[in-house]
């Protein structure tokens, strides 16, 4: 299950859905809005997504994780819209019989989501500037 949503991510409910009687290990990753990035003070941020492609690419990543690792469940929810410091931006949860697979799959999912899913982050800084982050090294305020 991959989902984009504009409302608060309910990690408690999501985590509960991972549990199964055959599962011995659950690993979750939560990505929160940090108050700083690259030495600059961040006030809030906006996420934009190309929703249909983000959805299908997110589902692809979860399917790959299930094919590649001995896991039972893999889920990911990503916020879009405006977020404040401390808000949960992305949640990944994986359950498995054993912890090796759960850790590896959880890490794989968040890495691939950050690498491939068409979602963009616009950070608003304390100095009044803002800019879309294009993590291959393009400058903030790239055009």
């Amino acid at each position: 299950m991959f989902r984009l949503q504009e409302t608060r991510i309910d990690a408690v409910t999501l985590a509960r859905e991972l549990a199964q009687s055959g599962a011995g290990a659950g690993v979750t990753f939560e990505g929160w809005v940090r108050d700083h990035n690259d030495g600059r003070r961040v006030l809030r941020l906006d996420y934009q997504a190309y929703a249909p492609l983000a959805q299908s690419e997110g589902e692809n990543i979860l399917a790959e994780a299930r094919a590649r690792f001995a896991i039972l469940e893999a889920r990911c929810v990503h916020r879009v819209g405006t977020l404040q410091i401390g808000d949960l931006a992305v949640w990944v949860g994986v359950s498995a019989a054993h912890r090796d697979a759960a850790f590896a799959a959880c890490r794989h999912v968040i890495d691939e989501v950050k690498r491939r899913v068409p979602i963009w982050k616009n950070e608003h800084y304390a100095d009044g500037e803002s800019g879309w982050l294009h993590p291959d090294g393009s400058a903030v305020k790239a055009n």
């Binding site: 492609l53 989501v113 950050k114 068409p118 982050k121 879309w132 294009h134």
Partner: protein, 79 residues
């Protein structure tokens, strides 16, 4: 031909719109981007972008058809 182009992130800011209908003689995304880059002054070169056609990643040289939805995908920064 007429294409529906969607813009995201810095391309959206630069274009000043999230979508536009583009009448163009370009036959693939490469030609279309060159045209739009000149029109909007996008700084990003083609090698930094990916292309999606009708909601799926596609090669730059895939022939476009009338009415296609074309999106130029800047480097992503989710998570």
């Amino acid at each position: 031909m007429s294409y529906c182009v969607l813009y995201f992130a810095s391309l959206r800011d630069r274009a000043g719109t999230d979508a536009e209908q583009v009448d163009s003689t370009a036959v693939d995304a490469r030609g279309l981007y060159a045209e739009l880059r000149a029109r909007h002054g996008f700084g990003m070169t083609e090698d930094r972008l990916r292309v999606a056609i009708n909601g799926a990643f596609a090669p730059w040289q895939q022939p476009l058809r009338d009415g296609d939805e074309v999106v130029f995908i800047p480097p992503v920064s989710g998570g």
